[in-house]
Symmetry: C2
Subunit: 251 residues, 2 copies
């Protein structure tokens, strides 16, 4: 199914932003204003809610454009104007309650929050890859960057057009995601905030250990969930340049 | 005590290498052939044995010079032509035997190997900083890079002229080093090889956790002791550029 642009392009300092809809799901595509040849694509993950996330997504898209890449984001199931997911909302409330009372969520709560999201979101992202790669200005390969880490891991494991995964260990991780990580063989770059209040450090280390990739980097920095330092974001950018730029020597 | 150059400078592709002796201890100083102003200094750590380590040290010095930095290495106590340390040699043999038989060395063995080395080497490195900063071509500030991690941690904790520490978690760590790490407040960049046969991963993570620094980065990569990927070395180089280059904006 082709995507349909829903508004005129907005151009801000050489970054072109276009809202689209694909099978009823909202998305945003960013491209550099000047593209000498069809560009690689980075899928920008996020926690859901394209509208409130817009400033941060646009900033990440601008960084991607500076490297010559297109970037796209798709609304998550249950978020923005999409049909609510009451079971996930309940699980999210339980998770927050457990953390606020100084404990940790049960595995069962994490599973109920994350696994249905992965099941629904991954085919949607794959359909978006189909539609985006059909655009003349986008040529692949495709990278995934950030967002709900279990979605990134699943895409890295199952989608052959995704050749590099930059993951943010900033969400709780179902055991099933650790099992899937063993099947991931593409290069992986994992950002971990050492004192992130929204994840479990040992889980993140176990996940990094589990990846089957011949190239994997863990980049951990002091600070909380939103405190990723600028140089760590730059390092992640260089990871994508190494793996998405066809002419760039690997390694 | 001033250092004394023991041979004519050797110049190889714009890198000047000079052997020196300081209070009977051999050392090597590398400087860029052209230095517009007194250069910052990086102390290159190593496992001991300047002669066999020379190719790798010279390569690291060349990277430092490309960033405008001088680099220096000092022979370790007990290594090269220096007076042997029989107790440390015995502890090293015990450590290797424990690892080769599939076990791990006792804390007591690690202490006997590492702690006397730290006690003896750190004042020697401090004397070398004194002498090197007296040279007109070297102006500081000073960074430490790699080598026996407990020596780097002690220097980072006690030597105010050392403003940034790039550490390699590739050696066994006495408990005393973890306690010292809590006193370190300068920026720290820790390289960890995830499958290093010469260290203990959990110890390395505990050490990273212990640093009292407001800025600390753990950069972990797949592979064994000698497999640090080129891009990880580049990231460490950018860490020094951020913290040793006076004109460079921090952060």
């Amino acid at each position: 199914m082709p995507l349909r642009f829903t508004a005129p392009p907005r151009i801000d300092d050489r970054l072109v932003e276009r809202s689209f809809t694909l099978d009823g799901i909202d998305g945003i595509l960013w491209t550099p204003e000047s593209i000498p040849e069809p560009a690689p694509l980075i899928l920008l993950g996020h926690p859901g809610g394209l509208a409130p996330m817009h400033p941060r997504l646009a900033a990440r898209a601008r960084s991607a454009a500076a490297m010559g890449f297109a970037a796209a984001a798709l609304e998550l199931p249950g978020a923005g104007g999409r049909t609510p997911l009451p079971d996930a909302d309940l699980a999210r409330a339980e998770l927050r309650q457990a953390i606020m009372s100084g404990g940790r969520p049960t595995d069962e709560t994490v599973d109920r929050l994350v696994l249905p999201l992965v099941e629904q979101a991954v085919p949607e992202w794959q359909a978006a890859i189909d539609a985006l790669l059909d655009l003349p200005e986008i040529g692949g390969p495709v990278g995934v960057s950030g967002g709900v880490i279990s979605i990134g891991v699943r895409l890295a494991a199952v989608e052959p057009r995704v050749v590099a995964a930059g993951l943010f260990a900033g969400s709780w991780i179902p055991r099933a995601t650790l099992d899937e990580a063993r099947r991931v063989t593409i290069p992986v770059h994992v950002l971990l905030q050492w004192d992130d209040e929204g994840n479990d450090r040992q889980q993140a280390l176990d996940l990094f250990d589990a990846f089957g990739s011949a190239e994997k980097t863990l980049n951990a920095n002091l600070g909380g969930h939103t405190g990723v330092p600028a140089w760590a974001a730059d390092d992640a950018g260089r990871f994508f340049t190494r793996h998405l730029t066809r002419s760039h020597p690997r390694g």
